[in-house]
Each structure stands twice: as C-alpha cells, then as structure tokens.
Amino acid sequence: MAVPTTKSKGIFTAGVLANRPACADHFALLLRLAEFPPTQPGQFVNIRCGRVEPILKPTEFEWRPGSLPPPHQPETVGRQPLLRRPISLAGRRDLDDGVELEIIHRVVGVGTAWLAGLKAGEPVDILGPLGQGFRPVDRPLAAVVGGGSGIPPMLYLAEALAAAGKKVVAFAGARSGASLPLTIGAHDLPSQAGWPTLCTAEFAARGAATVITTDDGSLGFPGLVSQALQGWIERSSVAQGELAVYACGPNPMMQAVAGLCLPAGIPCQLSLERHMACGLGACQGCVCKVKDDSPQGWKYKLVCKDGPVFDVGEICW
C-alpha cells in the first residue's frame, strides 16, 4: 500500500502507463501515481490537458545584453486548453508502491484530443479527487446504467458494489456498437432481447452481467438504454424492493431513468455533467437546480462540489 496522503485532494503528476483506443471514439488511459487520496466511484479528476513543462526562465544571452531584440514574453506558453477538463474515474488499483487510475474518455474537442495523443511515460497533471461519488444504498441488487461516456464511471462503481457484496447488472448504451468503450464477446454475446449476459470483458471482470443497447441496433438491444432497463425491471423477476439504480449519461437518458425509478420508489442516483472552471466549488460556474422548500421551489447546487452524483429526487430537470 502506498503511503496515504493526508489531504483529501491535491495536484499530482501522474505518469502514463498505457493509452489505448477503447472503441471508435473513446480512449482508455491508465495512469500511475506514487500516491493518491482515497476515492469513491463517481468522483472525478480535473486534468490539465497540456504539457507539464517548466516555465522557461528568461533567456540568458550568449552575448552582451541588448544585443538581441528584447525578449519575447517567455510565457507565451499557451497550454491548450486553458482550463482543466473534468473526467470521471473509471477504476483505481492500489499497489504496494503506488496507485493506478483509469480514465476512459470520448474525444470531443481540444482537451480530450490532447489526452488521446498521450504516450506511455509522459506526465499528466491531475487535480483530484473531486466531488461526491455514489453513495451505496442498502439494497442487494444494483443496476448500473451508463450511456456513452457515462459508462466509464460505472465500471469503477460496479467493482465497488460487487466488492460490497451486491449483485450488479450493467446497462451500457451507445449510438452504435463501434462507439461503445467496452470489449465485447469475452465470455458471451450481447442479448438482442436486452437480457444481461457476460458479454463485456470489463463488467464481467467486475462480476457483472451486461445489457448492451445501441441506437442503431448494430449491437445488443436496439433502442435506448432506459428502455432496456425498463424491460428488464418489468419482465424479470426483480423485486423492486431489492433494487437500486445508479446512472450516468446524457440528460435525456437520465431523465428517462428518473422517470422509471421515481414513481416506482426505486432508489436512484444520477451523475450530472456541467462545464467547469475550478472543479472546487469556488467559481460557481457549474450550477444545477435542486428541489428546495423555498417559495420558488428550487435552489442551486454545485455539480463539482455537491455532486456530480445527486439523488433522483433532488434534481429539477
């Protein structure tokens, strides 16, 4: 076990152990650190997507001062992008001499493109862990529901829930089979009817069967991940009193999941996304509305600090 840090969060320079495409549009990045504070599934790190490099000292001239044009400003070092990028933890492994963190991200812009270009051995500056993760509920059965780049945190969560003795079923949805960041067909094949099978290496390794859904029907159940979840709840012998649902993905998916769980009284936690500047609760940039008994019926909470995981009952969509 690595020496635990005493602080709950910090800035760390991680080394890249491996960086591989996880599918047509996701990359899986394995990072190695000497130490990292304790983490919970659902928490995230804020990554500086730019070279970790020392700021250049003012140039020493070869010849007497004034002989060259006056110096440019050495800090035209424009790291790209300027702000950090929040990415959920997809897994963590504590070793004798350090910590391994996994993140899986979809390449959508400058920051994630930079991450995708990282090579083994290169340094990455990460700030974290941040936010409030999932809070395991006292139910023996857990459905972890991920849509697109909402799938990665579900890997970490499935592992933790399984380790806590829960039975875990994973629901993973994507636009098409090619953009699903999971390894298919390890032990079994996805069910077109939406039944859990040991079809993904990642969830199987964490002891969870998986339902795959795709919008275009190219893999698994054709349709939305929330539809598959609903079908499974309705048609299986799941006792609703035994089930808890944890979800992360695009808003419409999470709204559908909420629409399922709320009326049925199924405990449900959802992980939200917002554009963030600080990730620390300082800038007030990442607000979401939560229910409140003020006259207006809602107040703002901060996704970076109070979330990203919220209880289904709190959220005002």
Binding site: K7, S8, K9, G10, I11, R48, I55, P58, Q73, P74, E75, G78, R79, P81, L82, L83, R84, L127, R274, H275, M276, A277, C278, G279, L280, G281, A282, C283, Q284, G285, C286, V287, C288, K299, Y300, K305
Partner: protein, 308 residues
C-alpha cells in the same frame, strides 16, 4: 532575505499576492490545494445585501487564452457571510478584503457599513464593474459622476476599513473613473475587472452563456490590463499616493512582474487559480528570485519603475 511585503493604505500584506474576487469563494474551497496563509491577502467573492442565486447555467465558457463568466454575483448574502464565513476568514491570519456589490447606492452603503463593524475584515473592495448583472454593477463603474457618488457614499461608512475601488476596463479612459474614485476618497484601486464579451454556439445560434454576455478574463486580456495599470499609475495613482492592486491574466511570475513594473503594489490572481491553485505561491517565489537576481532587497524597489 528579500522583503516582499507591501502596504495597501496602511494594511500590510506579507507579499503582494491576493486572490481575485470571485475566483476563490470564501477561502474554504482551496484548503487542500493552497495554503492561503501564505498569500498577502484574501479578497472574497462579491457580497450583496441579500443572497443572490446568480444567473442560469451555463455560466462559463472557455475562449482562446481566456474565459467568459456570467456568474451573476451568486453569493450567500451579507448576513450569512457575517455569521458563517467571517469567523473562518478571521482565522486565516491574513488581511481579508470583502468585495461588495449592489444594485443601488444604498445597498453598497448598507453592506459596507455592516462590514465596518467586523474585526475579521480589514478592507472592502467596491465592485462597481461587474458586467454580469442587469442592474447596478458596471453602470456605476463607467461613469465618473456615478463613481464619485457611490465612492463618496461608501467612504462615509468605512471608518475602520480600507476602501478599495475596483475599476472597469470597459471605458474610454480609465484614468477618468480612477480619478473620480480617488477624489471621492478611495484608499486604493483594484484593476481590472473583466471585459464584456460574448461567445456563440453556432449550432443552436444562441449565446453560449445563459446571461448572453459574460466577462472576459485570463491571459488574453493581460496586455490591456498592464497598459491600464500603467496609465492609472502614472496619471493618477502615483501622485495621489494611492496603491493599485493589479490583475488581469496573471498566471506566471513574469506576468506579475510586468504589473509591478507598471505600477501595481498588489497582485490579484483569478482565472489562473482554477488551473493551478498552488501556482500563486510559485509566482510569489518567482518574484523573489527575480528581485534577488537583480540585486534588490525589497519589492518596493521595483514598483512602478518601468522606464518609458
């Protein structure tokens, strides 16, 4: 030993580095990442008389070497501040300046007056330059007559507290508003607040920010900020003996030194705190290195020494 301490109208800062209002909350958020006690001073997020929930989401967007924010002065309000935050801030052990905002002059006066009673507070920073609220804010800060009026009114209730006036860069000639603030009794000037700006989502054809416009901060604006600090220093502040707290894109020691040479006594770091909270201490150390390399023993030897 290099003496980094500076004096802001009688308040001694152990070093010139302070937080830019609104980028460091009320100090608790950065606890694990930055030892705030090592800063010269702490500037809070804007406080208004009543709590404000602020603007709708999205409130921030990144632009080239900068960011726009339209937080809308979201804050817990005066009373919650006095009750919950002031005691904690007091324990910081560094001078605390509370940024004050409002819609009407009376709001400013009420908040400033109440803050003058608190031991935890050494000074207030008058935010007459927020571009992100419909009323108040920037409209006070771009008109010299208004500036004079509001600063005079607040001056009257700042008996113990140092009065810092925060200037808007969205003006034709910033020395005019600076002079108005000084003449109305400002003890110090802080500059600059953000530039009104806009980013557009070209797919939905709407402004990205819910508030439509926001304030541009970060390295992108630094050359304008340095120019404005230098202008106000040479044309207003130096003669009046009024110190300037410079800000706008400070990210590295090099940036900070530009502001010092241009005439800033204090240095506030905002946007860069989000990227590298601890970096502000690196800036402090970088300034000390620079002074050492140039044979100085005190930071005061270089303030305003730009040769033009």
């Amino acid at each position: 030993m290099i003496d980094l301490s500076v004096d802001i109208a009688g308040v001694r800062l152990a070093n010139p580095l302070v937080t830019a209002s609104g980028t460091c909350g009320y100090a608790d958020e950065y606890a694990d990442l930055l030892d705030l006690r090592q800063l010269g001073g702490f500037f809070t997020k804007s406080i208004t008389q009543k709590p404000r929930q602020g603007n709708e989401y999205p409130r921030i967007v990144e632009t080239r070497a900068g960011m726009l924010n339209a937080i809308g002065l979201a804050n817990i309000g005066l009373e919650a501040f006095v009750r919950d935050k002031a005691p904690l801030l007091r324990q910081l052990g560094i001078p605390v300046f509370v940024n004050v905002a409002g819609v009407q002059i009376e709001d400013y006066v009420a908040v400033a007056g109440r803050l003058d009673e608190l031991d935890a507070v050494r000074g207030i920073e008058l935010n007459i330059s927020c571009p992100n609220v419909k009323e108040g804010g920037i409209q006070f800060g771009t008109d010299a007559t208004q500036v004079h009026k509001i600063v005079s009114a607040v001056r009257a209730v700042c008996r113990k507290n140092v009065l810092v006036v925060k200037l808007s860069p969205n003006v034709t000639d910033i020395t005019v508003t600076a002079r108005a603030a000084v003449e109305a009794g400002a003890d110090a000037l802080s500059m600059i607040n953000t530039f009104t700006a806009m980013a557009i989502d070209i797919e939905s054809r709407r402004p990205i920010l819910a508030n439509r416009t926001g304030g541009l901060s970060g390295p992108a604006i630094r050359p304008i900020a340095v120019y404005m600090v230098h202008r106000v220093y040479t044309q207003v502040a130096k003669a009046a003996g009024v110190p300037i707290i410079g800000m706008g894109g400070i990210q590295f020691a090099h940036d900070a030194i530009e502001f010092l040479l241009a005439g800033a006594t204090g240095l506030a770091v905002g946007t860069a705190l989000f990227i590298d909270p601890g970096g502000v201490l690196g800036i402090r150390d970088g300034i000390a290195d620079y002074l050492r390399r140039h044979g100085h023993t005190s930071i005061k030897e270089i303030i305003g020494t730009l040769q033009t």
